[in-house]
């Protein structure tokens, strides 16, 4: 998959994008009525995320996915607020989702249409372009990512790596300023992980991703270590990985 180099990508370049979490925490009501009070998923966090490449690492169930879901309004904070370029995720959900693209761990959840071409076209529907123009743009986009040959295949016939690249293409189609990826390399083999890393490195967008791949985390300028619903470390990758290893015992 080749990085895009057209002018459309330039338009998606972030101009000082910033996400601010002010005391943002997440709690859920327990299913068991006998439980004592709500369960804390994410403790109140104060963070400013403006670096171009940020990785979030931590154990399973530590709160990484919840933190990422806060960033595009998929999860709303129970306390505090999350602001994306000045937009509040609770109040301005639709505008936030246009600013922050989200890629799921399992791309099959994300692909709604039968074929990659139709799925990219679905993303482009919001632009309200005539049908032929939409199809031309979708084909162009798939070509620019080296996916044109898969355009008419069923999404169920694609490999895990191809699906992940298509899912990424459908999100990039609408040029979000910020890209959030939840464990994007979990289902990928080494070759596809390398391709994904190269692609992400070439994107103009601000990228925030969670991962168990410490090499991928190390390629980011800033790494957050999440542990037990809180931030255990926030800083450069080498020190973050050391901290994560220490936490894992």
């Amino acid at each position: 998959m080749k990085p895009r180099t057209d002018s459309a990508q330039d338009r998606g370049a972030p101009a000082g994008t910033s996400i601010v979490l002010a005391g943002a925490g997440v709690t859920i009501d327990p299913a068991d009525p006998a439980a004592a009070g709500p369960k804390t998923i994410l403790r109140p966090l104060d963070l400013e995320l403006s670096d171009r490449r940020i990785a979030v690492i931590g154990a399973n169930g530590s709160g990484k996915s919840t933190l990422l879901r806060l960033l595009n309004g998929l999860v709303l904070p129970s306390t505090g607020s999350v602001q994306v370029n000045g937009l509040d995720t609770s109040r301005d959900g639709a505008a936030v989702r246009r600013t922050v693209g989200f890629v799921f761990t399992d791309p099959i959840s994300q692909l709604v249409m039968p074929t990659p071409l139709e799925d990219v076209e679905l993303s482009l529907r919001r632009l309200r372009l005539p049908k032929r123009e939409r199809r031309r743009l979708a084909m162009e986009l798939l070509e620019s990512h080296g996916l044109a040959h898969l355009g008419s295949n069923s999404i169920y016939e694609l490999s895990g790596g191809e699906r992940q690249m298509v899912a990424l293409a459908t999100v990039l189609a609408v040029e979000p300023a910020i890209l959030v990826l939840d464990e994007p390399s979990t289902l990928l083999d080494l070759r596809n992980t390398r391709m994904l890393r190269e692609l992400l490195a070439g994107l103009p967008q601000q990228v925030i991703l969670s991962t168990h791949d410490l090499d991928l985390a190390a390629s980011c300028g800033r790494v957050l270590v999440v542990d037990d619903g809180g931030i255990a470390f926030d800083g450069p990758p080498a020190a973050a990985v050391d901290r994560y290893r220490a936490l894992a015992g």
Binding site: R98, Q110, V112, M113, P114, R126, S152
Partner: protein, 228 residues
């Protein structure tokens, strides 16, 4: 489980005349198929059976003209054969063989005609068509994009649920629970709810179905639906 989802209701790319026909023409032919099959028995039982037979042959010819695989036609019938047998047996018992043939033939013809339409029309084109049909209702608060997306999701979900039934049946058989109704139905419900949640989350993350924001462009004219 999701691997079954390509079995039915999907678009099959091609260059046949039916692939090139505009959606409105195919939709009108589908409507005509249903109306002829439903209304013809009002003339007489014999006329109903004769017209339904002719329509069914016409639809099968359309399937061939579209260059669609015969396996797809067989699959569409196979999926509803229990329903067809039950309804056919009841009609035979109540009204005789001719009526039973007319009723079963009408269902098969209409389903196959709908199958041809979805197989020769890209989903995106279907969405445009549905949105264009609903657009006049925008004045009374209808949201054409949301409506067409809902229908597309429904089309996508049907094969998933069929696949879920098939997989759960095999899993139950592997555990020797093929006669256990709970083991054959509860996992389907759980899988379907999980699928619906995942789809909803994915749509939400992509902002699909979100209301328009100030400054959003309007809908362009759809050449397939003049005046939309």
């Amino acid at each position: 489980m999701r691997g079954h989802a390509h079995l039915v209701a999907g678009y099959i790319p091609g260059r046949s005349p039916l692939h090139r026909w505009p959606l409105w023409l195919k939709a009108c032919l589908l409507l005509a198929t249903a109306v002829l099959c439903l209304a013809s028995p009002a003339v007489s039982v014999a006329a109903g059976a004769a017209i339904t037979t002719a329509v069914l042959l016409f639809v099968v010819a359309g399937h061939a003209l579209a260059g669609l695989p015969w396996a797809r036609l067989g699959r569409a019938v196979k999926l509803m054969w229990i329903f067809l047998v039950l309804i056919g047996a009841y009609q035979w018992w109540q009204h005789g063989g001719l009526v039973a043939w007319q009723v079963v033939g009408a269902i098969v013809a209409t389903v196959l005609a709908a199958n041809i339409l979805t197989a020769t029309t890209p989903v995106d084109e279907l969405l445009d068509g549905l949105a264009a049909v609903v657009r006049p209702l925008e004045r009374v608060g209808a949201d054409p994009e949301r409506f067409s997306l809902t229908v597309a999701l429904m089309l996508r979900s049907i094969p998933f649920v069929i696949g879920a039934f098939s997989d759960v049946r095999e899993a139950a058989r592997a555990r020797g629970l093929e006669r256990n109704l709970l083991a054959r139905s509860l996992p389907v419900v759980i899988a379907t709810v999980g699928y619906a949640r995942a789809t909803g989350e994915a749509l939400s993350a992509r902002g699909l179905g979100d209301p328009d924001l100030p400054g959003d462009p309007g809908f362009p004219e759809d050449p397939d639906f003049p005046g939309s």
